[in-house]
Symmetry: C2
Subunit: 453 residues, 2 copies
């Protein structure tokens, strides 16, 4: 067994410096949805890679640029690391304890928008590379990075980019942008992601808002039209009413159910963490809850906007109303199917006036739990985290992993610095400093082992 | 017949000066819903009345102050004039051609928030008083003013104020805050107002917003809860589903139907003005449309708020959602009834988690079309407007007229400077300068005639 004392010494001695680099990156807003600081951040990321001796370039897309970097290693095998430099919007600002773009350390954690999702993962990987370069003077294998700027808005252009840059991205295995431990501090290996179809539904009923004393009696109300249309999408038993919506779904395999049943209970932990009185359904046991959380598709209203939303009252009949809605998809659903079903459904229910704008998405994708690279990542986790990774057949979130799994034909594994209290996509997003160090240790071990195989 | 040449000469010669006073008043924001400039505006209004020799005072309430003023006239009969100094919020600002609080004259009109509703009505009445004082040196009758600062937020404290200040407000007749001409330029006499019950419905399902990839499968979604709750309030045939909601309603009388049938057609005019493709129902004729517009209650969603509302996508499960909803009430419905029915309905439909906040309201109220003061106002309209006022039994809007009709026992009449293109409560609110002058002429004639009777 390799001795990682020198590598770990480096990581422990230089932690402060790596965290400072992360803070600098997080202080630079990069909100894709709001076109905030995107080019500046892409440039920063490129410079950070160049500083490690990578050849790095920005590739323009129709959206935000993709950063590609590579560096040769001792052995001619290539690990592709995927991250993203964009972050979620920070709103609502008033719910943050410290300003979202002024990273602040408190009690062993660092808070800031994007620090967990995904900038901390990126810098912890650079940190592992720093350690290997410092100790060995070289990398054990070739390493490529791909960082996109549109993950939080549905990776609109990435799949096409991967499709047309297959040679540039050619590799033997891929490390995904996220990963981390569960509430027991046991690292989890997420072998798949659900797909997503994110849409904005909008209605316009008049040329302008009208006094509700007049319009309320006579004119169609955009907010009511939207409300009624949404209410037909899903019933109160959570059944999604799109035509043939459930038809193509593959149920979980016996192996999937086995992996899920070995995972620890989460019910109570979710309830206390998120302040939930009760779950959507009365799950008979933890496995049933686990199955529901990843092997069932969803339809979520992510936002509603119409009319007057300020304090007090304004008696107005809104001319416009819109909703942001995401569908999470399971094998073998696709966004193309869902968009077609959604249009058909709205027309059939009498809502041809409700317009659908596709804001992004992709199908689900999974990696074989028996792939040798999965085994390597699990085996190296024990030494880094002090616990052995557990396999999770699929998780509820989404991402463009299908481009890497299907197009590049790579095993895609997850490891990283995430933990359940990280508040990704919410106010007070944060990372734990101890996990940041463990995550870097794991990456250094993966790279080393990959160079031996 | 009295010769109004001198009065009209004064009005025509001093129009510019009165409009300048109006512009100054409109440049002072007074948005009750946002507590913007309220005390400053109350003080301005008081000073404007004092400048005409009125005794004027601010009366504190639990909300914004009420301005009361009075001035003796030649004859000991008292006309009470009701106006309000608050205005609707100006949002959305980007839909205004010129800034809402920088009044701008364009092509015979003046644009600004509150210029029609209600500041222009107020200053046109002062302008009539200026003319009478200039020509006669005195007022023909006693005049009292009451201006409140909460009309646009449901006149929360006015009815109680009227109840406890009956002696101060004692009068023989009342002129309401608004009035004006229809699309033919014929002045209308609005003999009643619908009631209103304005509520905010809100739901909270978790302590914080959650990533929709996790929460969408397992946790209740505040936006969905709100959507489903709202969808039970009213069906797509516009039937309001609150228990016993329609039980207390008085249908229109034969006299009401007669008055409505004599009014001009509005269908095409509404369609072109507001950009409406079709009405809520297929009204068989104009009278049916007129009946629907005032003798039927409504349930209007005035605003919807939940989750992410910015550009692009954010995959979030909202912890909170809220809707602003107004119910317009017809005789003999009351807000108290509706609040009770609403709570019962939501509980019965499985939405005890939807909270109701009452933001203001009051019952409907009507004035007898055969009252002598109504006759006086109609008769004096011909000379002022060049057209004779037509009687309208009730209009769709709401206001605290019930306090004046029921508590003070006064006939309440409408006359003023409004017209259908005035965009009250909407962007580009405006008045027509020609109607401003006609409105002032009518007030001068009413005061004069009232002093003769």
């Amino acid at each position: 067994m390799t001795d990682f004392t020198a590598v770990d010494n480096y990581l422990e001695s230089n932690l402060h410096s790596s965290l400072n680099e992360l803070k600098t990156l997080c202080a630079q807003p990069s909100v894709a949805a709001q076109n905030l600081g995107m080019t500046e951040t892409a440039q920063m990321v490129k410079d950070m890679l160049k500083a490690r001796g990578f050849e790095a370039d920005l590739y323009e897309t129709e959206g935000y640029p993709v950063v590609i970097a590579h560096r040769q290693g001792i052995i001619d095998k290539t690990l592709l690391i995927y991250n993203h430099y964009d972050v979620q919007p920070a709103e609502p600002f008033n719910l943050w304890t410290s300003p979202p773009f002024e990273p602040e350390e408190r009690e062993g954690k660092i808070y800031g928008r994007g620090i967990s999702d995904d900038k901390g993962h990126f810098t912890s990987r650079l940190f592992a590379i720093d350690a290997l370069l410092n100790v060995y003077g070289d990398l054990p294998c070739n390493v490529k990075f791909i960082l996109e700027g549109e993950e939080e808005i549905g990776s609109v252009h990435l799949p096409q980019f991967v499709e047309t840059h297959q040679e540039l991205l050619a590799a033997d295995a891929c490390i995904w942008e996220f990963g981390g431990v569960d509430h027991r501090d046991i690292p989890l290996q997420y072998l798949g992601l659900r797909g997503i179809c994110y849409v904005e539904l909008s209605v316009q009923t008049a040329a302008m808002d009208v006094h509700s004393g007049l319009g309320g009696s006579l004119f169609p109300n955009a907010a009511w039209r939207l409300n009624w249309a949404l209410s037909t999408l899903k019933d109160q038993e959570e059944h999604i009413r799109l035509p043939d919506f459930y038809d193509s779904i593959l149920p979980p395999s016996e192996r999937d159910l086995q992996m899920l049943s070995e995972l620890p209970p989460v019910r109570e932990e979710y309830q206390s963490r998120y302040g939930i009185d009760k779950f959507l359904k009365d799950y008979q046991n933890e496995t049933e809850l686990r199955v529901a959380s990843v092997f069932e598709p969803t339809c979520t209203i992510c936002g509603l906007t119409s009319g007057y939303q300020g304090p007090g009252s304004k008696t107005v009949l809104p001319a416009k109303a819109s909703a942001k809605v995401d569908f999470r998809l399971v094998p073998n659903q696709t966004p193309t199917q869902v968009l077609k079903q959604l249009r058909e459904h709205l027309d059939r229910e009498g809502f041809p006036d409700v317009e659908i704008e596709f804001l992004g998405g992709g199908p689900p994708a999974r990696t074989d739990p028996d792939h040798p690279f999965v085994k390597l990542v699990v085996e190296t986790s024990t030494d880094a985290f002090g616990e052995t990774m557990q396999l999770v057949p699929m998780v509820g979130g989404s991402g463009p992993n299908y481009a890497f799994v299907n197009t590049l034909n790579l095993p895609v594994v997850t490891t990283g610095i995430g933990y359940p209290g990280g508040n990704a996509h919410a106010p007070d997003e944060n990372i734990r400093i101890d996990l940041y160090l463990k995550g870097a240790k794991h990456i250094s071990r993966i790279l080393h082992a990959f160079g031996q195989t």
